[in-house]
Amino acid sequence: MATSTTHGNGSAPTLPDARPPLPRAPSPEGEITRFLGWFSLGLGVPQTLAPGRVNRLIGVRDDASSRIWQRVVGVRELAAAAGIFGRPRPAGWLWARVAGDIKDLALLGVAWRNQEQRTRRLAAAAASVAGITAVDAFAAARMSRLPADVTKDPSFRVKASTTVRRGPDELYAFWHDFANLPRFMAHLEAVETRQDGTSHWRATGPAGMKLEWDAEIVSDRPGELIAWRTLPGAEVVHSGIVGFVRAPGERGTEVHVDIEYAPPAGKAGSIIGKLFGEEPELQVRDDLRRFKQVIETGEIVRSDGTPEGTEARRLVAQRPARPLERSSS
């Protein structure tokens, strides 16, 4: 079992190129975060370069001390902007912005107590900072909840492979009969193939959450590969390819799977996160492990500690290695 595609012989097709393109949708977390990054930049540049003008604009007395404070705050804003644009998953920088906002409110509070400066402008500035604090907190909280692997890249890709002691034609045929897939794919409940060649997939997520989608085959080469893509309206948008490559010697067939999931957006995003946890590769690797078990041994291999057979969650939550109670059978 391997997680990157390596081929046993030089003539093997390069599978990733054959994977169908994925429909993309922007994620709301990403949009808000980018807005906040530009906001930090827009504030930080004038604060650092022209602190006097900013002081007058927000109604603070313009003197040497307040200009130094403007520059300090400006440098902080520039750092936040760099952090937000430079990091794949800038939750930490967003929280830093929240902390900065609170400090800004405190500074404005100090200014407020000074009678000379109590103007409408100061009130407006305080209201603006309070508003942006709310947005910062919202974005930081959303970004913190997203699994790391989901936010690293707008979409994410899972690759896994295994070698099965059978010929490519037999493995291709077994996989192509989609009704077989739930026998080794832990989350799938059923797959029905329609007259027109499209298929309907039903899966169960954590806590019994039901997920459904339609898919179509976009490339089909008997004994070699099957590529598929979800149809519009799918709850888990993805495309994938499974390739069958004869292994060298008498070693059977290498099975390579390469799946790309759409960027997480709304419900589907959090569903993918929950389905795969922090390690989306584990699920696909375990599915392939079970595929090999079913083909080679005729069934899923079970132990007392892992009665359902290979499953990602069992790696952390084992039951004791002793027979199950009769009632749980």
Partner: protein, 391 residues
């Protein structure tokens, strides 16, 4: 049923647990007539094996009577008397087809855990951590045997349990250790560790034609057994003698042609400071294994010779004398025993009277006395060499 379960470091207890049942069509249920405590059980008892859970049934050396079979087990019938090999192997994957049963590619449902530590997973093993499958073990009245059409060997003679039980692990393990040495006429073989596996490595080296076998240990009664029962020609008590110097003297300065490490991860060193160094690192989990025997074997081995490792190791070692190994052109061979390949040939040797494996047994206890057996075996009380349990 009654079963011996792990309940923490230095704690095992016999409890009532549910009876096993058939979980798949290739399973059999065996009513256990004899089972044993293995040296590798002590690694879990001592708390050095990760991924144990309270309530795990221990034990991987057992035999008994088939009382139920899954519908696809054509090779066994209810009433058959069988010995069960400790590695669980599917018989269908590339590893099994190449008779590398202990690296079966399918029998560990928790292969993902093992891959994190070792890159790839070995086979599942009865009663031997969750990383190696989470299978209930055989220190119990009954056990579920997966892939029962592949593993168990039928015993169709009237030999007592004591003579065939050790086909499950320690006899084939010791035998494989000797076989890996590729013994040639005139070869001198040194065996570190005169525990049960070491005894069978010594006896097997003699069976395979070694000119001379030297046993190394620190317990007089074990060395006496090695000499008087297993057939060692010479013995070295490493607390009394310098092993390297003694081996050189015994071999005309050449060093042994092959060295067998039958000690494994919880080795001892005669030098107090060196032992303390590894003991502390081991206890602090900075080093998972204490490789004294292995280090000494590497340094002692003749240039061009072979190191055969059958002692149980779990993780990492340090101060590994790789320079000595490379510059002396040593060959390393090792592995958990591929028990299935040795069952028939070794049963033949027992039936022919070439060896009686029961010589290692020093204690027979009822299953309920298992915790006492662990303590005796661990502390080498009452000259304990091998404990057989009768459920």
């Amino acid at each position: 049923m009654r079963a011996n379960v792990w309940s923490g470091r230095n704690r095992v207890q016999v409890e009532n647990v549910p009876d096993p049942k058939i979980m798949s069509s290739r399973d059999a249920i065996v009513k256990i007539s004899s089972t044993a405590i293995c040296g590798s059980d002590l690694h879990m008892y001592d708390g050095y094996m990760p991924t144990m859970r309270k309530g795990d049934i221990l034990g991987h050396e057992f035999m008994g009577e088939v009382v139920e079979t899954g519908r696809d087990v054509g090779t066994l019938s209810v009433g058959d008397r069988v010995v069960v090999p400790f590695p669980i192997a599917c018989g269908n994957c590339n590893a099994c087809r190449n008779e590398m049963y202990s690296v079966c590619e399918n029998s560990n449902p928790n292969a993902g855990l093992a891959e994190k530590m070792m890159g790839h997973s070995p086979c599942g093993i009865f009663g031997y951590t969750h990383m190696l499958g989470g299978y209930a073990g055989g220190q119990a009245e009954y056990a579920r045997v997966p892939f029962a059409d592949v593993g168990p060997i039928k015993i169709e003679n009237d030999l007592p349990d004591e003579k065939v039980l050790f086909l499950s692990d320690i006899f084939p393990t010791g035998y494989m250790g000797a076989e890996l040495c590729d013994i040639q006429p005139g070869d001198v073989i040194a065996v570190w560790g005169a525990g049960p596996v070491g005894q069978f490595a010594i006896a097997s080296a003699k069976l395979l034609g070694a000119e001379r076998v030297i046993a190394i240990d620190r317990f007089g009664y074990r060395l006496a057994m090695a000499r008087d029962e297993a057939g060692a020609d010479d013995i070295i008590d490493y607390e009394q003698a310098d092993v390297l110097a003694t081996l050189n003297e015994m071999t005309g300065g050449r060093g042994p042609d092959a060295c067998i490490d039958a000690v494994g991860m919880e080795g001892h060193h005669s030098h107090v400071a060196l032992h303390a160094y590894d003991r502390v690192k081991h206890a602090a989990r900075m080093e998972t294994d204490r490789p004294h025997a292995l280090r000494e074997a590497i340094v002692s081995c003749r240039p061009g010779g072979t190191i055969s490792i059958i002692g149980a190791y779990g993780g990492m070692v340090d101060k590994f004398p790789i320079g000595a190994a490379v510059n002396k052109s040593l060959t390393f061979k090792m592995g958990q025993c591929h028990v299935h390949r040795y069952l028939r040939p070794l049963l033949d040797r027992i039936e022919n009277g070439e060896i009686d494996p029961s010589f290692v047994i020093t204690h027979k206890l009822g299953l309920d006395d298992t915790p006492r057996g662990y303590e005796m075996f661990k502390n080498k009380e009452d000259n304990c060499e091998k404990v057989v349990l009768k459920p």
